[in-house]
C-alpha cells in the first residue's frame, strides 16, 4: 500500500466539512472529519497521526485556536491550516509561535481548493500529484 496522507477536517458545518472531505478524498488523501475541537482532540489522542488539519475557528465548545494550542502540545508533527468564515480573523499572537501553523489564513468559501491543497503540500514538504 502506498503511503497514506491523513488530513483532519475540523468544521462544525457539515456541508463544509463534507466538501473538504470529498475534495481531499478525490485527491487521494484520507480525510478524518471532526465536528468539534473536543472530538478532534480525542481522535488525536487515539493515535490518529494526520499530516495536517484544516481548522475552523468558530466552533461549539473549544474554538479552533484552542484546538491548535492543545493539539500542538501532543508531539504530533502535524500542520494546521485555518479556514474561517470570519474575514476579519487574525491569528492570535501566541499561536504564531506554533511551528506547524500555516501563517496564511484561508477564508471560507475556499474558492480555489487546489490552492489550499498546494499550500498544505508545501507545508509538509512533499510534492503532491
Amino acid at each position: 500500500m502506498e503511503f497514506v496522507k491523513t488530513i483532519l477536517i475540523l468544521d462544525d458545518e457539515s456541508a463544509v466539512r463534507r466538501s473538504f472531505c470529498d475534495f481531499f478524498e478525490d485527491h487521494l488523501w484520507e480525510p478524518v472529519p471532526a465536528a468539534s475541537g473536543e472530538e478532534a482532540l480525542a481522535l488525536l489522542q487515539q493515535h490518529l497521526q494526520p499530516l495536517a488539519a484544516i481548522v475552523d475557528v468558530r466552533l461549539p465548545g473549544i474554538d479552533g485556536n484552542e484546538f491548535i494550542r492543545q493539539a500542538s502540545q501532543l508531539r504530533t508533527p502535524m500542520k494546521f491550516v485555518i479556514c474561517t468564515g470570519s474575514p476579519e480573523y487574525l491569528i492570535p499572537d501566541d499561536l504564531r509561535q506554533v511551528a506547524g501553523l500555516c501563517p496564511r489564513v484561508f477564508t471560507k468559501p475556499v474558492i480555489d481548493m487546489q490552492e489550499l491543497e498546494r499550500e498544505i503540500n508545501r507545508l509538509i514538504g512533499t510534492q503532491g500529484d
Binding site: E13, S14, A15, V16, R18, S19, F20, D22, F23, E25, D26, L28, R58, T84, G85, S86, P87, E88, T107, K108, P109, V110, I111, M113
Partner: protein, 796 residues
Amino acid sequence: MRGIPMTHAELLDFAKLQGICATIAERSGCDVAIMGQEGKIIASSHSESIGLIHPGAALIMDSQVDRFDVTEELARESAVMHEGCNLPLELEGRRIGCVGVAAPLAESRRYAAIVQTCVTLMLENEFSHRQTQERLNSLIASKQQAETVLRKSEMRLREMSELAHIGYWHWDLASGDVEWSEQVYRIFQLDPKQFDPHIEAIMALSPWEEESQRDKELIRIVSQSRAPGSYEQRFLLPDGDIGYYCSTYQGIYDDQGALLALEGSVQDITEQKRSHRALELSENRFRDFADSAADWFWEMGPDLRFSFLTGRVEEVMGLPPEQILGRTRREIYREMENFNTIEWQRHLHILESHLPFSNFEVRWTRPDGGFRFLSLSGKPFFDTQGGFLGYRGVGGDITARKQQERELVRLRNFLVNIINSMPSILIGVDELGRITQWNKEAQHRTGISFEEALGRPLSEVFPRLTEELDRIHWAIQSRRKQVDSKRTLLEDGELHYEDMTIYPLISNGEEGAVIRLDDITEQVRMQEMMIQSEKMLSVGGLAAGMAHEINNPLAGMMQTANVLKNRLTDTRMPANLHAAQRAGLSLETLGTYLQARKIPRMLEDIQTSGCRLAEIVDNMLSFARKGDGGGSLHELPELIDKTLILATTDYSLKKQYDFKTIEIVREYAKDLPQVPCARANLQQVLLNLFRNGAEAMHSVRGAHHRFIVRTRFDERRSMAIIEIEDNGPGMVEAVRKRVFEPFFTTKPVGVGTGLGLSVSYFIITEIHKGQISVTSEPGKGALFTVSLPINPVSSD
C-alpha cells in the same frame, strides 16, 4: 467844695455894719458911713444916705485915690458928701469898700483911720470865720462823698462777688463751726435757714472717697507750710448734678502762732469746668475724627523740613520720628526706586511752590525691606501778612487699599481676558437694551468696536437680535435663563447654526442681561459627520456579524459545487474512473451528456455567483474595521483596488453612472511603504472620491471618462500620497473652496446628502491626522490629493 467867693463887703451883713456906724457915731459925735462897690453907701449913721452913691468913695473904689477928703466947699456943692475924710477898706490886698467920717476935716482924718482899722479888723475876723466855716463845710461834704463812694464800692464788690460766685468762709478749728457768706450758700445752692455749715456737714457735700480726707489734709498743709493756697473740689448739688468750686485759704494764728482757724474765698467754677470738659470732649472728638481720617499728622517749617509728627508714622514707615524730623521729604524719599518719576518731580515742585496737595500716593520701602503705600495730603499755612510758614498735613497707610485695588485691577483684567478670549459672542445689555458689554468676538463678527457699540441700542449694532428683545426683557423680568439651541441663520448665503443663551444679571440691583451666541455650525456639521460615520460603522458591524453566517453556507455551496464539478468532469481522477467503471458508464459518454445539458456552464455560474457573493460580503466588512485605524498597516494599492471593485458594485445600486465605462489608469509607486490607517474609513473616503468623480464625469455625456489613480511617497513629509484625478467638468473657484463643507452639494435635491466629502475630510484630518485637498478648474477635471502620515500617530 463850694467855692464861689462873695464880695468882701458883703461879708458884713447890714445889721453889723449899721451897728458899727452907729456905735462910732455915738462915741465920736460924727456921722460914719461905709460904702461898697462903686461908692454905694451900704451902712451909715445918717440912715437917709444909705443907697446913695458917694462920688469920693467911688473914686477910691475905682482905685483912683487912696483917700478922699471932702472940703467945706465940696460939701456945700454936694448933696451927698459932707465935710470929712474917706478911706478904703482892704482885705487880703483887695479893696472891698470905703469908710467915711463926717467931721471937720482935720479931725475926720483921725477918726476915719480909726474906723478904717476897726472895720478892717472886724472884716478880717469875719472873713477868717467864714473861711473856717467854709472849710468845715467842705470837709463835711467830702466825708459824705467818701461815704457814698464807699457804699457804692461795697455794693459793687458784692455784685461782683455775686457775679463771680465768690463767697467767703471762715472755719473755726476748735468748734468745727464754719461761717459762710451769703454767696457760699448760693454756690452750694443751699438755704441759709436750713443748712448749718458745720465742717462735717460741709464735707458731706463731697461724698467721694478721694475727697473725704480733704479737711485734715488742709489743716496739715497749712500747719506745716503756713502759706496760703488754693484747691479745687467737686461737690454734689441738691439736684444730683456735680458742681466744682475753687477755694483759697489762709491760716489765722494766735499770738503763739498756733493755728486757730482757716478762712478764705470760695468760687464756683462749675461753669468753667463744664466748658473745659466740653472743650476737652470737643478736642477728643476732633482727635478721634482726625485719627480715623489719617494715620499720622505732620508739619513742616518754611524750609520744608519736618517739624512735627504724631500718630502711627513709625508703625507704618518703620522709621522712628527722630529720623524724619528735621529732614525734608526729598531727603527721606531720595532712596526710593521710583523717586525719579514724573509724579515725584511734580510733587516736589508743588511743595516748593507752596501749593496744597491731596492724596499724593507713594510707595515706601521700609528699612526692614517691607513696603507700604502711603497717601500724603498737605496744606500750606501762612502768617497774616501772607508769609509762608510751612505745611500741615496728614499721612495714611493705603497699602491694603492699594493691594485691593491691584487685585481688583488684576481681577478685572482677568475677567476681561476671559470674556474676550471666549469664542462666543458675549453682549451685555441693560434693561433698555443698550450695550454694556461687547467682547472681542462680537467686535470681530460685527466689525464694530467696543467704544462704538457701548451705550447704543442692541437693535442698532446687532440687528439680527432685534426680534429677541422681548425674550431678553422676559429673561430680566423673570430672572430666568433663556436658551435657544441650534438657531439657524444665513450668513453670506450659507447656513449657520448658533446657540443663544440669555443670562439675566441681577447683581447689585443693576438690571440687565448677557447674551451669549455660540456658532455651533462646526459642531453641528461634525455631529452630522459622526452620525453618518457611525451609521456606516454600524452597517459594517452588522455585516461583520452576518459575514460568518453567510460565509459558512456559502462555503458549503461553493466548495461542494467545486467537488461536484471535479467529480463530473475530471476524466483522469482515479476515483471517477473507478466509480464509472463500476457503474458501467463511459466518462466520455457522460461528458457528452453533461455538455449537451450545459452542466459545466451551470456549475461555472454557481461558482461565479458564489464568488461575487463572497466578495460583496468581504467588502461590506471593510466598514466594520474601525478600531484598526492607525494601528494596522495596509498596502495602499490593494486598498485602492478593492475600493474600485466596491465602486463598481455600487453602481448597480444607484444607477447614477456606469463605473465600468470609466477607464482606470493606475500609477502606483513601487517604493510605497505600508500605511497605518483605518481601512474601512480610508476605503470610505476613496469610495466617496470615486463616486463623486464618476458622477461628475457622467454629467458630461459621451466623453471618454478616465480616472488616474496615483500613489507616491513624500519622503520629506514622511507621507503616503494618493491622487485621484478625473477628467470631468471641474469646478469653479467658489465650489472648489467649499467642497469639504458639510451639506455643501452641487447635486440635485434628494441625490446626495452633501456629507460625503465632509466626512472624508473628517476621516482624513481627524482620524488619520492627514490632509485632503483638491485642485480644479472648470473644464480641466479635478484632482483630489489625500496625504497620510507614515509614522503611526495616535488616533481615536
